[in-house]
């Protein structure tokens, strides 16, 4: 897809990170994992990650990131009519509840009234799927100022004893506010590429808890409600699909790889990112990431890199930026945009509403039924 006339322009960027920092050693100790700090760093590039406290949900991070994006838009001085979101898309694979979607509650808590709000599930490609969807809705005239939030709390679905996933994932959220603008405006979305291949759906999955295998079915294995990933197989798919998708987006944008000022890939694994960048011919000086500090924050990873102060200071508004993601589904997506001029704002996680604050016992994964909850 090429957006060569009026298109979506990013007018606000906000982020939210939980305070709790876990080192590799913390994760190893919590799960009695047979691995080491050096092994995790060498294999993934990850040194630490953030986890929410047991009473904080994805929605709590999303509300904070959304509010921060609106503060950013206010600080950028854009016209008032473009600072009030009239549509909310929440990219997440860790919703507050299997049903209903989390987005309506986020919109309600943000005081957005009755604007349309829906979740978008494309796992780690979620932000770019949501950004592309919002761009299309904006260009169609369906909305004036869509708010795109990506929020995840993978700590609530991780098996602490699973060496394949426990060290990899972290929690966080980030959001962008959009409005229609010319393609030469900083922050303009110029091209996108989306794709999916369901033949690999089992490679990244939560086996139980959906209609295929309800968690309450007699004999269900409670550990099947944990997130699972076959990392080695995913590596090959991710490298191939991210490279192909990035090339298609570049072609649509009519950019050569040498024209790209900044490459931000989904922060899945540093070695995947390096492999994709090498295939695209992008030197390390033009690759930006935060995996060392935040791990893989799934849908939130790309907008969290965009909100990173170091990245903000390194890139000037208008810089040609290539975003590429790969995730469960399998899904992949790429977006070519120019670097936004909006000043980033951050907020701490929004405290949960009082009536929702004690629905999960401390330390328990969100969707795992415990003996005590089953019998009550």
């Amino acid at each position: 897809m090429r957006f060569d006339q009026a298109t979506a322009v990013v007018t606000g960027i906000g982020g939210c990170l939980p305070d709790r920092v876990l080192s590799n050693q913390d994760v190893i100790a919590a799960g009695a994992l047979g691995t080491s700090d050096d092994w995790i760093r060498t294999r993934t590039g990850i040194a630490r990650r953030r986890h929410v406290d047991p009473c904080t949900s994805t929605g709590d991070l999303a509300v904070a990131a959304g509010r921060a994006a609106l503060e950013s838009a206010r600080a950028s001085g854009d016209a008032a009519e473009y600072r009030d979101p009239d549509l909310l898309v929440l990219a997440t694979s860790t919703p507050d509840h299997p049903c209903p979607a989390t987005a309506p509650d986020v919109a309600h808590r943000m005081g957005l009234g009755t604007v349309p709000a829906f979740d978008l599930a494309a796992v780690c490609s979620g932000f770019l799927y949501a950004l592309t969807t919002a761009t299309a809705l904006l260009r169609s005239g369906a909305c004036r100022a869509p708010l795109v939030i990506a929020a995840e709390t993978y700590s609530t679905i991780l098996d602490p004893q699973d060496r394949e996933t426990a060290p990899i994932f972290g929690d966080g959220a980030a959001a962008v506010l959009l409005r229609l603008g010319p393609p030469d405006h900083p922050g303009a979305v110029l091209a996108a590429d989306l794709g999916a291949d369901g033949s690999g759906h089992q490679l990244i999955t939560i086996p139980a808890g959906g209609s295929r295998l309800p968690a309450h079915r007699p004999g269900a294995d409670p550990t099947d409600t944990y997130f699972r990933m076959q990392g080695r197989e995913v590596y090959a798919h991710a490298v191939r699909r991210m490279t192909q998708s990035a090339r298609r987006a570049l072609e649509q944008a009519r950019w050569t790889p040498t024209a790209v000022d900044a490459f931000i890939g989904h922060q899945a694994n540093q070695r995947i990112l390096d492999s994709v960048a090498e295939r695209l011919g992008l030197p390390a000086t033009r690759c930006f990431g935060n995996i060392h500090e935040l791990g893989n924050t799934a849908a939130a990873s790309i907008p969290l890199v965009m909100a990173d102060a170091a990245v903000q200071s390194a890139l000037a508004p208008g810089a040609r930026t290539l975003l590429t993601a790969f995730g469960g589904g399998l899904t992949w997506a790429s977006v070519a945009l120019t670097w936004p001029a909006a000043p980033v704002r951050w907020r701490p996680p929004q405290p949960p509403p009082p009536h929702q604050s004690a629905t999960r016992p401390p330390g328990s994964p969100a969707w795992t039924r415990t003996p005590s909850s089953s019998s009550s």
Binding site: T42, R43, G231, R232, E233, Y235, A236, V239, R240, N269, R271, S275, R279
Partner: protein, 86 residues
């Protein structure tokens, strides 16, 4: 084997991309013995797929494979492709 273009290409990839010392690259050495971990083995397979444009099965890629065996798998696919095209 030393004159086999598939083996020679494998040697080139191992020494240039994976920085394996040339003196350690022998037909009977396993990928693990050359210090390729499991992700590096997959990366090697993806690189070979791209170089030769063949559907080399990366799910079968392990560090226990010898360079002989990797060369054989690539050569077999190349033969099948050439035979199919003939």
């Amino acid at each position: 084997m030393d004159q086999d273009p598939v083996f020679q290409q494998l040697v080139t990839i191992l020494t240039e991309k994976f920085e394996v010392p040339a003196e350690r690259v022998r037909p009977r050495a396993t990928l693990g013995e050359l210090d390729l971990d499991s992700l590096a083995v997959v990366e090697l397979y993806v690189t070979l797929q791209e170089h030769w444009d063949i559907p080399l099965d990366d799910s079968a890629a392990t560090g226990e494979l010898t360079l002989d065996q990797v060369t054989g798998a690539v050569s077999e696919l190349l033969r099948s492709r050439d035979h199919g095209a003939a």
